[in-house]
Structure formats: structure tokens, C-alpha cells
């Protein structure tokens, strides 16, 4: 149903098309039919708000060393500092409030996830479209590169990039982009190959529209559904990978910890029973990843043209 509408739109004048605000709202209604997806969506909104407004919500700025008091180090959840501040989730070894650290860490994690998934989506989609539209040499070169990359697991690609680029959050983002673009390219190419043969592209060719216009105005909108689904899932994957890499000491710095880094610093205290430094950031990470996956799972069902009818 949705497929046909989009296609018509690109060929016929807009006035002929019946007004269709219903399609989007139908999709939204369809999305919220699943309670799990609805819960995931609400959790995700809450998480995004927490991350976005962290500087205003957090009791403490965990990146500002002036605000940290080493005397308050390793306090159990619920302890009170000398100044009367309550550390609801305890503190780490440097006296950093775990709750504040988590809120700020969430910002880093979400930023890394969204940024890398978005950039990889743009690069991969463009490459996939080009491969499908140009065919021949271009297609062979791009798809061989994609095959090459996809035969290695993401973490290995990311490790390889970090071994070359060195440590740091920005390098983690770059490594994730390089590791993930191929997934988009492969999916977009196969979708675009199907779309390319349809009448509306032929019609656009007949009109002698320039190649880039056909690519981005006609083919691209019709290939977007799978891209959105993959991008959602990739945000979750990227967040998990960033945390893993930070845990391994290859990502965020100790002074500006991400969730993975917080978990990592808590690791050495775990054996002595100070569980909260690692435990709570891990829960935050888990909730974030699960809610994104729930939303992504549902998006796939809703956007899949096979299920739409």
C-alpha cells in the first residue's frame, strides 16, 4: 500500500494525489499497537530527555574536577556527603556521584551512537544507491569492498581502526562509521536494484531528468524504509560497541567518562564488593539498548511492505 503511493507521487503532479495525512498516522497507530514497542518508545523518550538535560538534572557536574571531593570516594548508594548532598547511587573512587556520571555518560553514549549510525547511514546509502544505479565497474568495486568488510566482525574492524587511529571518543565514532557503513550499502543496493526496474524510474529517465535527481529524488525515498530500520538497530549496536571499547580503555577518557568507562572504573572495585560503580551504569546501558531494540523491532514490522497489507 505504502509503496504504491510513494511511487505515484514522484511521477504524477501532486494535485492529482489524494491528500494522505492518514498514512503517517496509520503507521504511528500501527506502531503503538504493540505494548512492548510503546513501552520501549516511552523509555527511549525519557532516556533522551535525561541525556539532553543532564547538566540541569544532575546533582553534580562529574567532569568538573573542582566539584569532586576525594573524601567522598567509594560511598555506598544513599550515603550523604559532608555538605549534605545525598549520593543516591553512591560514588566512585574519585568521589564522583554515580547518578550524575551516568546522566553525563548517557549523553556521550547517545551522541556516539546517533552520530556514527547517522554518518554511516549517509555514506552507506549513497554508496548503495550509486552501486545499484551505475552498475558495471562502480557496482563491482563498491560491492567487493562491502563483501570484504562484512566478512569481518564489527569489533575486529573497530579494533583495527583504533589500532591505526589511536584512542579517543572521536576515533571511536570514526571507527564505528567505517565498521558499519557496509551494512547499509548492501541493503540499499538490493532495494534499489528492485526499485530501478519499476515504471516510475523509467518515466523519470524518459523525462531526461539528470542522474543525480533520479537517484536522490526518486530512488532514495523508496529505499528509505530499510535504512531507517537498520539505523535504529545500529544506534543500539554502536552504543554497545562504544561502551565495550571504552571498557577496554580505547574510548572515552577517565576524566570525562562514558557509561562504558564508568563500568570499567568500577571493575577493579568489584572484587572488594563495591558493586554500584559498575552495576548502575550497566543497567542504564541495558535499558537504553533494550528500548532502542524494541522500537527498532517494531519499526521493522510496521515499515515492511510485506506486512503492510
Amino acid at each position: 500500500m505504502s509503496e504504491a503511493n510513494v511511487q505515484d507521487q514522484s511521477v504524477q503532479p501532486a494535485s492529482v494525489e489524494p491528500p494522505e495525512p492518514s498514512r503517517l498516522s496509520q503507521g504511528i497507530a500501527e506502531f503503538f499497537k504493540s505494548p512492548a514497542a510503546a513501552i520501549g518508545f516511552i523509555m527511549l523518550v525519557v532516556i533522551c530527555c535525561l541525556a539532553l538535560f543532564a547538566p540541569w538534572i544532575a546533582p553534580q557536574n562529574p567532569y568538573d574536577l573542582m566539584q569532586l571531593d576525594i573524601m567522598d570516594g567509594r560511598l555506598a548508594p544513599g550515603s550523604e556527603s559532608m555538605t549534605g548532598m545525598v549520593y543516591y547511587l553512591g560514588t566512585d573512587s574519585q568521589g564522583r556521584d554515580i547518578l550524575s556520571g551516568m546522566l553525563y555518560g548517557l549523553r556521550t553514549s547517545l551522541m556516539v551512537g546517533v552520530l556514527s549510525a547517522f554518518a554511516a547511514a549517509i555514506i552507506g546509502t549513497t554508496a548503495g544507491l550509486f552501486a545499484a544505479y551505475m552498475g558495471r565497474r562502480t557496482e563491482t568495486v563498491i560491492m567487493r569492498l562491502v563483501d570484504l568488510q562484512l566478512s569481518f566482525p564489527t569489533i575486529l574492524m573497530a579494533l583495527m581502526m583504533l589500532a591505526i587511529l589511536g584512542k579517543g571518543v572521536i576515533n571511536v565514532v570514526i571507527a564505528l562509521i567505517i565498521a558499519e557503513w557496509a551494512t547499509y550499502a548492501r541493503t540499499v543496493r538490493s532495494t534499489a536494484l528492485v526499485e530501478r526496474e519499476k515504471e516510475y524510474v523509467e518515466a523519470a529517465r524518459m523525462l531526461r531528468l539528470p542522474g543525480w535527481r533520479i537517484l536522490f529524488k526518486h530512488l532514495l525515498p523508496n529505499c528509505l524504509a530499510p535504512v531507517i530500520v537498520i539505523a535504529t538497530m545500529q544506534v543500539a549496536r554502536a552504543i554497545g560497541l562504544e561502551a565495550t571499547l571504552s571498557f577496554l580503555g580505547l574510548g572515552a577518557s577517565v576524566t570525562e567518562p562514558s557509561l562504558g568507562m564508568l563500568i570499567s572504573t568500577g571493575y577493579q572495585y568489584l572484587l572488594t564488593g563495591l558493586y554500584w560503580i559498575s552495576f548502575f551504569p550497566g543497567i542504564a546501558l541495558l535499558v537504553t539498548i533494550v528500548s532502542i531494540n524494541l522500537v527498532g523491532d517494531r519499526l521493522r514490522d510496521v515499515l515492511n511492505p510485506r506486512n503492510a497489507s
Binding site: 570484504l148 566478512s151 569481518f152 566482525p153 569489533i155 575486529l156 579494533l159 583495527m160 581502526m161 583504533l162 589500532a163 591505526i164 587511529l165 589511536g166 584512542k167 543500539a236 554497545g240 561502551a243 565495550t244 571498557f247 577496554l248 580503555g249 580505547l250 562504558g260 563500568i263 568500577g266 571493575y267 568489584l270 572484587l271 564488593g273 558493586y275 559498575s278 552495576f279 550497566g282 546501558l285 541495558l286 539498548i289 533494550v290 531494540n293
Partner: protein
């Protein structure tokens, strides 16, 4: 069939060559090896000596040829940290990683296959739904965090299992193995379970999807109509047809298990390749990094090659040529 194998072989060699170029460019051109190799306090003469020693004054293509030559001889240079050949260091730790990966794969299969089969055969049961929800959790839980929680529960709180290392090992076929001693086995349990978690969910879901694809097929209905025992239908008709995708995934995932053991080894201080590479990246031990990357490239190319061949043998309908 022979042509397709030969073609595939050429592709594999091409991939290896391409990766040597990528790794070489990455390590020698993007990162400046002079900065890494030479003590910043060194004087001019010392600098020149080191540069000449590593051939860094040569044109880049010559350096690449030297790199290839070393590669073919298995010579990646000496580790800056250990002062010993890099490849030897890695090969020394390979058994520990293999032991961990194989055990994890075993756990994933023993747990994942039956549960997936059950969830696929009885999708309506509550227990099946629980299994499927559990597998979503298995996908979403960050491996390293699960590892920490395992340590917290089983080592710190309950004190049942040790937290790190391989424990005592026993020699078998000239290599040290942990699983041959009781204490070593106890050391192996937590890391292997940690590494297996993600793959268990994967195999479970794959098996379930496979079962649901096979069950409505005509040959199952026919077997039922013929009055074949249910156990035989499941054991032979369903299970056999399931195995094709599962075998492929096992091959692919084995490589990924070795790659992901980086994380588990770091948590449990398991003395394998993964821990070595993380230490090497942190210490900028370039020869070890290069040797590790090249070894992994070869491993994956070889694995993919073997899987492709197995695939053609297992399922005659698949022709490698048809893919291109």
C-alpha cells in the same frame, strides 16, 4: 564445482592482499612509525640509525615489499615490549583463545539448539515465549557488563568460581590446556559462559526460525500422513533441514567468537590473544598489532572459504557462481 573453488580461492587471495595494503597503509602512513619507534629524547644520529634499521628511509612501495617479504616469512619484527618475535607471542597465546572460543561455541550449541527447537515446535506455550524474551535479553546485554556481573555473583558473593586466569594447565599434543584439570575447568567456566551468551541467543533464534520454516513444508505433512513417529519427524526431517543454515552460522560465528574473546579475556584476565592485542594497542606495540591483524584476516578468509565449500557440498542447489 572445481572452477568455482578455484575462483573462490583467487578471491580469497585477493582479499588477503587487499588487507595487507590496508593494514600497511594504516599503520605506516596514517600513523607515523618514527614517532612510535624512536625515543623522543634520542639525538639526530640515533634517529637516523633507527630509521635506517627499520628501512623507514626507503620509498613507500619498497617498504611495502619489505613488509610483504616479512609477512611471507612469518616475520613481523620483534615486539617493542617483550623484545621477542611478534608472531611467536601471538601463537603462544592462540591455544588459550581457541580453548575459550570452542568451549563457548559448545555451550551455545548445547543450550541454543534444543531451546530453539522447543520454542519452534511449541510457539504458543508460555515457556517458549519466556525463552524468546530471554534471548532478546541475551542480545541486548552488553557482554562485558554480564562478565562483571558473573564475577560479582559467582566469585565475590557466592565464592564458587575463580575470577581470573586459566588456572593450572596440562600438556596435551605439546600445548597447555586448562580443561584437562579440574581447577582449570573451573577457571574456564565463567569466561566461556560469558562469551557464549550472545551466540546462544543467536543460535536459539536461528533454530526457531528454521523450525517454523520447515514445519509447514509438504514433506513434513507427508511424513505425518504416512504415520511416521513424531520423534522421527523432528529428529530426521526437521533437524536435518535445519542444519544447513546452522552450520553456516557456526562457521561464521566461530571467527566472531575469537574476535569477541578480546572482551571476555580482558575481563577474566584470560591469557589469550585478545588480551595481548588490547595491551599492545594501549602500549603502541606495533609489530604485535600488525601480526594480530594479519592473523585475524587470514583466519577469517580461511573460515569463509571453508564455509563456502561446505555449503556447496551440503546443499547441491547452491552454486557459488550463482551468487555473483
Amino acid at each position: 564445482m572445481v572452477t568455482s573453488i578455484i575462483r573462490r580461492l583467487f578471491q580469497a587471495i585477493f582479499v588477503i592482499v587487499a588487507m595487507t595494503i590496508i593494514v600497511f597503509i594504516g599503520v605506516n602512513v596514517i600513523g607515523n612509525p618514527v614517532d612510535i619507534l624512536i625515543n623522543p629524547d634520542a639525538n639526530q644520529a640515533e634517529r637516523a640509525r633507527v630509521i635506517a634499521h627499520y628501512g623507514l628511509d626507503q620509498p613507500i612501495w619498497k617498504q611495502y615489499l619489505m613488509f610483504l617479504q616479512g609477512l611471507l616469512h612469518g616475520d613481523f619484527g620483534d615486539s617493542f615490549v617483550y623484545g621477542r618475535p611478534a608472531l611467536g607471542l601471538i601463537l603462544e597465546r592462540l591455544p588459550a583463545t581457541l580453548e575459550l572460543a570452542i568451549t563457548a561455541l559448545g555451550i551455545a550449541l548445547v543450550v541454543g539448539l534444543p531451546l530453539g527447537l522447543y520454542a519452534g515446535l511449541y510457539p504458543k506455550r508460555l515457556s517458549s515465549k519466556l525463552i524468546m524474551s530471554g534471548s532478546i535479553l541475551g542480545f541486548s546485554l552488553p557482554t562485558f557488563w554480564v562478565g562483571l556481573m558473573l564475577i560479582m555473583v559467582f566469585s565475590v558473593e557466592l565464592g564458587w568460581l575463580p575470577t581470573n586466569g586459566r588456572g593450572p594447565t596440562m600438556e596435551f599434543l605439546g600445548v597447555q590446556w586448562s580443561f584437562l584439570t579440574g581447577e582449570g575447568l573451573r577457571h574456564l567456566l565463567l569466561p566461556a559462559f560469558n562469551l557464549a551468551l550472545f551466540k546462544t541467543s543467536l543460535i536459539l533464534r536461528l533454530t526457531r526460525a528454521g523450525v517454523q520454516e520447515v514445519l509447514p513444508q509438504d514433506y513434513i505433512k507427508f511424513a505425518r500422513a504416512k504415520g511416521v513417529r513424531e520423534s522421527r519427524i523432528i529428529g530426521v526431517h526437521v533437524f536435518k533441514n535445519l542444519m544447513i543454515p546452522v552450520v553456516t552460522i557456526i562457521g561464521l560465528e566461530f571467527g566472531s567468537l575469537i574476535a569477541f574473546s578480546v572482551v571476555t579475556e580482558s575481563i577474566f584476565a584470560w591469557p589469550g590473544m585478545g588480551k595481548l592485542i588490547i595491551d599492545s594497542i594501549n602500549l603502541l606495540d606495533r609489530p604485535v598489532i600488525v601480526a594480530y591483524l594479519m592473523m585475524m584476516v587470514m583466519l577469517f578468509v580461511a573460515l569463509n572459504f571453508i564455509i563456502d565449500i561446505c555449503y556447496t557440498i551440503l546443499d547441491p542447489r547452491v552454486r557459488l557462481d550463482a551468487k555473483a
